[in-house]
């Protein structure tokens, strides 16, 4: 099988050779413009060089990419992250502000300069600064390696799906992180979009096999995706080729990618619906005017009628990615050397705002980007404490096998993304529902007989409500990597941990050293690039002044409450005593008083006498 595929591939792509690594240079300036994405309402969007949407990037394996990102905003910092890249030895270009770099100040420029050595497949890029990618700062990033593509196809198409808000993040975020949004209810999107539009028409040829790269670049909602009367054969997830797996329906969380083969029919008389559907279980409320389905058109014949909305009997039979098998059959890694157990919770802190927590810590940015702490800390770099008590930082040793056990105590689904790696998904439990009498289910080793031999590998995976998963990866990519819920709202709420992977190798490798540009970016925005999480250079264990989260809400009575209760009780007792005194008092001249009170016209009575 592999062999036949390989021979066919050699026929398809024999022109390109390994050695022709190119350099792709992009010069991007952010800004604001108006664009009507969903055809319903124009709104402010983030533009690239004044245009919208942002360009797609298509490079080949081994190529160098140079992106000059100019911050054209007047009042906001920015950053850029290419989702899924390993960036070996190039950690400072990963993008998260205060993690691997300083935020880029307005008017400043940062050069993201890296090679794409180890990634092939479907990726995407977006701002890693809060809210910006939901305002349109995002695009596809395809890394080709046509010689080594294991399956045969005729044409390639990319479909970028997502959800769309009519309000900007600038409007939504303050209302979201707000005393008056105590449940942390995420804003409800207005529409599902596809390729930055709605009701897309995709003209197809008959009897053709398409490689469809499907990317969910949304910031919040998972989507069901299906094409009326057509099968999809999945061959890649998140940059990992898989064995063929044919399905009728896909389920994509945000940030996930599926490449599938779609072979068109011979008959061109009829057109078919391409369906997107909200996973409405993720929505706190479903407004009556929200369309949960969006229809696009797989068009064989533009003269024929457009297909109408396609309904299915069940949305439960989507492809469960857990059972996908990597094409290269990477075996289950050895037993973990290190297990990180994370309990996910959403709760309010004393400011009344709803935050997201791993082990009761909501990720709070340090004063110095963590990578820069690693690079400046010397021998202290292996001490997790210097990275702050509020960053959920874990230090990993070189080539350790690491398990992340995630227990979701929340009732929602969450798509988790690990930067710099693909991981093996070795366990994912079913959803649990406490309201139906089930206990939220933390992971228990006894639940599992054995992990899959060839676990599915990808970089973004969801956890079921009140359930758990276990992922396993090898700490073979020195760097500082985020592991976070990709839902932008939840990232804002602090649902993230930091993995500091082999800090000694980071320090040792020359390519990891901060470029002058990286340092300039820090200077221009006024952020320290040396020191511990608190910006302390003299004593790395002294965290005085570090950023910390708001205080927890006391669970019982505080002094204030005790005082209030005491006074209330006292008032009640005194009141009751007064009632008792009055009630037990003899009342003189009862009749006289009664007559007065009754207002009987006694004068009349008297005069009548």
């Amino acid at each position: 099988m592999t062999l036949t595929a390989m021979t066919k591939l050699l026929l398809v792509a024999s022109f390109f050779s390994f050695t022709s690594a190119q350099t792709h240079t992009f010069n991007w300036t952010t800004g604001w413009g108006t664009y009507n994405v969903d055809g319903v309402k124009g709104r402010e969007v983030i533009t690239c060089n004044g245009e919208y949407p942002w360009p797609d990037v298509r490079v080949s394996k081994g190529d160098r990419v140079e992106i000059y990102l100019n911050n054209g905003f007047t009042d906001a910092n920015t950053t850029l992250h290419v989702h899924g890249l390993f960036l070996k030895g190039q950690n400072q270009f990963d993008g998260p502000p205060f993690l691997t770099q300083c935020p880029i100040a307005p008017g400043d420029t940062m050069l993201y300069n890296f090679t794409v050595e180890d990634n092939i497949g479907t990726y995407w890029y977006h701002s890693h600064t809060a809210g910006q990618y939901q305002d349109g700062f995002k695009g596809k990033f395809i890394i080709e390696d046509t010689e080594n593509f294991p399956y045969e196809y005729d044409e390639e198409v990319t479909l970028e799906i997502g959800e769309w808000y009519h309000k900007t993040s600038g409007e939504l975020m303050p209302a979201f992180m707000n005393l008056f949004n105590p449940t942390g209810a995420e804003p409800i999107p207005q529409n599902l979009i596809i390729n930055n539009t709605m009701n897309l028409t995709w003209n197809v040829e008959p009897d053709t096999t398409y490689l469809v790269r499907l990317v969910n670049t949304g910031g919040f909602v998972s989507q069901y995706f299906w094409i009326e009367d057509h099968n999809m054969t999945v061959v890649e997830v998140d940059g990992v080729f898989t064995e063929r797996n044919t399905t009728d329906m896909l389920y994509l969380t945000i940030a996930q990618r599926y490449s599938f083969l779609l072979t068109t029919k011979s008959d061109t008389s009829k057109n078919f619906a391409i369906m997107q559907k909200f996973d409405d279980t993720m929505l706190d409320i479903i407004p009556s005017d929200l369309q949960l389905n969006a229809t696009s058109y797989l068009t064989y014949n533009s003269d024929a009628d457009k297909p109408s909305e396609n309904f299915v009997d069940s949305i439960d039979d989507y492809l469960d990615d857990f059972y996908l098998v990597p094409y290269n059959k990477t075996e289950l890694y050895d037993e973990a050397d290190y297990r990180i157990t994370l309990d996910l919770q959403m709760d309010n802190l004393i400011d009344g705002i709803n935050y997201a927590f791993f082990n009761n810590i909501t990720y709070t940015t340090p004063k110095v980007p963590t990578l820069m702490t690693v690079l400046s800390a010397g021998e202290e770099a292996t001490n997790a404490a210097i990275y702050g008590t509020n960053t959920n930082s874990f230090v990993l040793e070189k080539d350790q096998i690491v398990d992340i056990v995630l227990n979701n105590l929340d009732t929602g689904k969450h798509p988790f993304h690990l930067h710099g790696h693909t991981f093996q998904t070795i366990w994912r439990d079913r959803p649990y529902d406490a309201d139906a009498g089930e206990d939220p289910h933390p992971f228990d080793d006894d639940d599992v007989d054995s992990f899959p031999q060839y676990p599915m590998m990808r970089d973004t995976i969801y956890v079921n409500p009140q359930s758990n998963f276990v992922i396993r990866f090898k700490a073979d990519n020195p760097g500082v990597w985020f592991f976070h819920c990709h839902i932008e709202w939840h990232t804002i709420q602090g649902l993230a941990i930091v993995l500091i992977e082999d800090p000694e190798s980071i320090q040792a490798e020359s390519s990891q050293a901060l470029t002058q540009n990286s340092i300039d970016v820090c200077n221009n925005v006024g952020v320290l690039y040396q020191g511990n999480a608190a910006g302390n250079i003299a004593d790395y264990t002294d965290l005085t002044g570090q950023n910390i989260q708001q205080k927890s809400i006391p669970s019982g009575f505080t002094a204030k409450g005790v005082v209030a209760m005491t006074f209330s009780c006292l008032a009640g007792i005194l009141g009751l005593l007064t009632i008792a005194v009055y009630g037990l008092m003899e009342m003189p001249d009862v009749e006289q008083k009664v007559i007065k009170e009754l207002d009987i016209p006694l004068t009349e009575l008297i005069s009548n006498k």
């Binding site: 008056f180 409320i285 809400i553 009640g572 009632i579 005194v581 008092m585 009170e597 009548n608 006498k609």
Partner: protein, 412 residues
């Protein structure tokens, strides 16, 4: 949402209180009859007692029917009426109920006052003379003939309808109240009220009765203070829910279910709307697992105001005027007093004394009733007065007229 589907405490107390009042009316009437005829004419006595009870029961049944219908209709259309503003309405109802309970609670402590009030009222209605003479031969005749039916009937009906309003008001302010929470407290309240009335009538020790009344009034005011506090709480909740888009009420009793900026305390349990048992504390004491500044202040100020008002009443009862102002009494503080121009109607000291003597007679000679003391030919008048009641047909017309004369003489 509420767990209290069986027993609505506020309803119990309101029914109890109103029942007590009805019992007093009946007891006053019965003692009136007893003293008036007693053993003299057993047949007549029995007949009139029967009339009294028939009047009471009929009035009572009509009230129940009206009350049931009213409450049923309320719960049927409740959602339509209130919609999203339910917390706002609950707050308003709480406040209204507080005022009502506050007004009706204190008089309960003055059972003797209440009794004499009814004695005077009843006496008045017995001696009232119609405007025109011919009326005696029409309705008036029937009215007189069945006075012992009509009087309690009208009284119970009136008191009862008042109770219906109170019960409905108190009931719907109880969190998560449902229609099924009514029958039991109404029933128990009736029984309790009946028992107290019975004790009252058959002369249980006055002091133990008084203690009982003090205790139940105390509980009533605990409820009332709680209602007041809850009213404020509901307003706060309403504002918070409005600001959050009605989203907080779904989030149980944990963080985020309340406005932390305005909360003085909050505990993540013991939510009267969600946790079993705590709804009783809510109904009795106004307990909430979130104490807002406003609700706590309301609770304390309510008691403070009550303490001040009661202290003034105590002072006035002892000294016949309010402290510092010799000519000022509680009633003068009521704007209605001036609006109705009561001052103009106020009697001179002379008149007052004279009248009081008369009413004192009427009152303290209750045993012999009006007739006995003041009427020229006592026994005769007494008989003729009750001739109506007996309905002696042959003499009816003339007797009537003589009665009227007698009565007029007697009282006016």
């Amino acid at each position: 949402m509420g767990k209290n589907k069986v027993f609505n405490v506020a309803v119990f107390f309101v029914v109890f209180r109103e029942c007590l009042e009805a019992v007093i009316i009946v007891s006053v009437l019965l003692s009136f009859l007893k003293q008036a005829i007693g053993s003299k004419d057993k047949k007549l006595y029995k007949k009139l007692v029967f009339q009294v009870w028939t009047g009471v029961v009929t009035g009572f049944i009509i009230c129940l029917a009206i009350g049931g219908g009213f409450i049923g209709a309320y719960y049927r259309y409740q959602n339509d009426i209130f919609g999203n503003a339910e917390d706002l309405w609950e707050g308003i109802f709480c406040m209204v109920a507080t005022i009502m309970i506050t007004m009706m609670g204190i008089p309960m402590l003055r059972m003797n006052k209440m009794q004499s009030k009814w004695r005077v009222k009843i006496a008045k209605s017995l001696v009232e003379k119609p405007e025109r003479k011919r009326d005696y031969f029409r309705l008036g005749f029937l009215a007189r003939r069945y006075a012992m039916f009509i009087l309690p009937f009208i009284t119970v009906l009136r008191e009862g309808l008042e109770a219906v309003v109170f019960v409905a008001g108190a009931g719907i302010t109880t969190q998560g109240s449902v229609a099924t929470a009514y029958p039991l407290p109404v029933f128990v309240g009736l029984i309790a009220g009946g028992i107290v009335g019975f004790l009252l009538y058959y002369g249980a020790s006055r002091s133990s009765l008084q203690v009982f009344l003090v205790i139940s009034t105390g509980i009533l005011y605990l409820i009332s203070a709680g209602l007041f506090s809850r009213g404020a709480w509901y307003f706060e909740n309403y504002r918070f829910n409005k600001a959050t888009g009605g989203d907080a009420s779904e989030s149980g009793d944990g963080n985020g279910s309340y406005n932390i900026k305005k909360a003085v305390y909050h505990i993540n349990c013991c939510n009267p709307e969600l946790d079993n048992g705590w709804d009783i504390f809510n109904a009795l004491l106004g307990w909430q697992n979130t104490g807002y500044l406003s609700s706590i202040l309301c609770y304390n100020f309510y008691w403070l105001a009550l303490i001040i008002a009661l202290s003034l009443m105590i002072y006035e009862e002892r000294n016949n005027h309010l402290p510092f102002f010799k000519n000022l009494q509680m009633k003068h503080l009521n704007p209605g007093y001036w609006l109705k121009n009561k001052k103009a109607n106020e009697m001179t000291r002379e008149q007052e004394l004279e009248l009081l003597n008369r009413v004192d007679d009427l009152e303290f000679d209750d045993d012999g009733i009006i007739v006995e003391k003041q009427v020229v030919s006592g026994s005769n008048k007494e008989d003729s007065f009750y001739d109506d009641g007996m309905g002696k047909s042959s003499h009816a017309e003339s007797k009537d007229q003589s009665d009227i004369k007698v009565n007029t003489d007697t009282l006016d």
